[in-house]
Symmetry: C2
Subunit: 315 residues, 2 copies
């Protein structure tokens, strides 16, 4: 019987020494020359060749970061872009990351009303229930859009409870234009995001979801750089682990994300995607490693870890 997801995530963070996650958002036009110029993979306009290239890149990134980080976040959009073959590659990468000992977060932000959400919970989170896919595993956790309220979330929570998996509700987006919806203020002075956070806190308190350390399998995606907002969200959702996007390419710094952590240094896992996986486009790394793209990615991942650690409260 696997442990509660929140406990597993805490243990993995402890083992690797850093609350970080590498996001895999592969875009063909940004692939390293080694891969994009390979004779079988060098056709951006053939979806099969392109997806093979994307998959090869994802595999290599996983190999590079697996010794360094506790988790990867695989963004389904970048795979769906290649239709069913992309989706097959998405699941293949989940297997590889899982076999490499990483916790895997499927970043698919699905959300719909009850009967539809049941279907999404099956494909986006659960391990398959088909005899011909017996060896396949689903991700350890998934991001979910809770616009439809508890009905839409329930199938995901059921899967989390039954299969010891995790769910991160998308509470606050990392982009500026989200403010129009998420920072709108309610009658009682709360913002819409804070109001959603209140619901998440209530849902997260379910005993069947809570691990030994007091954290729930129901976490929250919390982006944005307003310290006041982050402090409030941290206080509203004491049992939820925050998955924090926006580090690096999207502009968030260590100081920006510090309020996502509790005073004991737990409570959040920070993700960086483009700033790590495309580090070979960054002159800072190119100057050191020239065309050895894998070394650029490794060095950027280590730098990312160092930066996040400076955000943690001194112990």
């Amino acid at each position: 019987m696997p442990e509660n997801f929140a406990d597993r995530l805490m243990a993995a963070i402890k083992a690797k020494g850093a609350p970080v996650c590498v996001g895999i958002d592969p875009v063909y036009s940004r692939l390293p020359a080694d891969i994009a110029e390979h004779k079988d993979l060098n056709d951006e306009f053939d979806s099969e060749a392109a997806v093979d290239a994307i998959l090869e890149f994802g595999r290599q990134v996983i190999k590079i970061v697996a010794p360094l980080v506790p988790a990867v976040k695989i963004n389904s959009a970048f795979f769906e872009r290649y239709y069913w073959e992309g989706v097959e590659a998405y699941y293949e990468l989940i297997q590889e990351a899982s076999e490499a000992g990483l916790l895997v977060i499927g970043d698919s932000k699905r959300g719909d009303v009850g009967s539809t959400a049941e279907m999404y919970a099956r494909s986006a989170l659960s391990d398959p229930d088909f005899s011909n896919l017996d060896d396949m595993v689903g991700p350890d956790a998934v991001t979910v859009n809770a616009w439809a309220g508890l009905d839409g979330l329930k199938p995901f929570l059921d899967a989390a409870r039954e299969e010891q998996k995790g769910v991160f509700v998308w509470v606050r987006a990392s982009n500026e234009s989200a403010a129009v919806i998420q920072d709108a203020r309610l009658e009682d002075g709360m913002t819409v995001a804070e109001h959603l956070a209140r619901q998440v806190a209530a849902w997260a308190a379910d005993e069947g979801l809570t691990g030994k350390a007091g954290y729930s399998c129901l976490g929250a995606v919390v982006g944005g750089r307003n310290a006041d907002t982050l402090h409030k969200l941290r206080a509203i959702m004491p049992q939820s682990i925050f998955l924090v996007p926006g580090f690096g390419a999207q502009g968030a710094s260590a100081a920006d994300i510090a309020p996502c952590f509790k005073s004991d240094g737990t409570g959040a896992i920070v993700t960086a995607s483009r700033s790590v996986i495309y580090a070979y486009e960054d002159m800072k790394y190119v100057e050191r490693f020239t065309s050895e793209w894998d070394k650029c990615v490794e060095a950027a991942c280590k730098d990312f870890i160092t930066q996040v650690k400076t955000a943690l409260p001194a112990r």
Copy 2:
């Protein structure tokens, strides 16, 4: 050059004489015996056999409803449930519906921040840009989750403008538990859904999206049964066509959905899914057609059309 999506949808509704849409949400365990007991398809626990059965059912439903309705809404969740093979079947069904002369709405409710939304807009709405998928078309319109605000919507609007397609923002869900988020009241007295509707109205007014009849390619998914809410949403979004779920199985009646229409009878398209495609489970139809499931579906589709017409203002 195809026409503006809003104009195409209005023309298709006029041609078929009814503002209705059949939703295809196929579940293996509810398939007609003809299909579920077919020797090659009768294995719910083999994802390949199951998806073949689902696809066969979808094809037959399309054949039955194509002469009667202007559009179908294909729910991607029910296909994703079968992983990449399900996704392939989803796109195959889009082709078949399109070839049958139907407008096709992809109900995938994707939503994320900018760079991710670009990928979703490509796979969920655009026609493919790959040489090996040259003959394939995307859906004519897609449902989108706008939690991330305009950034996340923009790639879909760009595709709508450039490829004459449509976008329906999920403004109000049809399930009760959505009220906790969507009916929360802002400082200015608006609900969160009404506030989102205000944004949709502003975004929809873009000239490049507006058709000859004054409607925009940016529509709204509007569910729920509160007449007051529906009247308000109709007033807030004058240029948006409403895609109205919840008819039939989810309990909405003709009277419930009447406020989604303007006084000239335009402005909405009503969808029914389970009450039509599973009509052979309904004794009312079984008594008339016994095991001829296709006749049950056809009769239920005709009854659905008749019911929706009673909701339209007399002219």
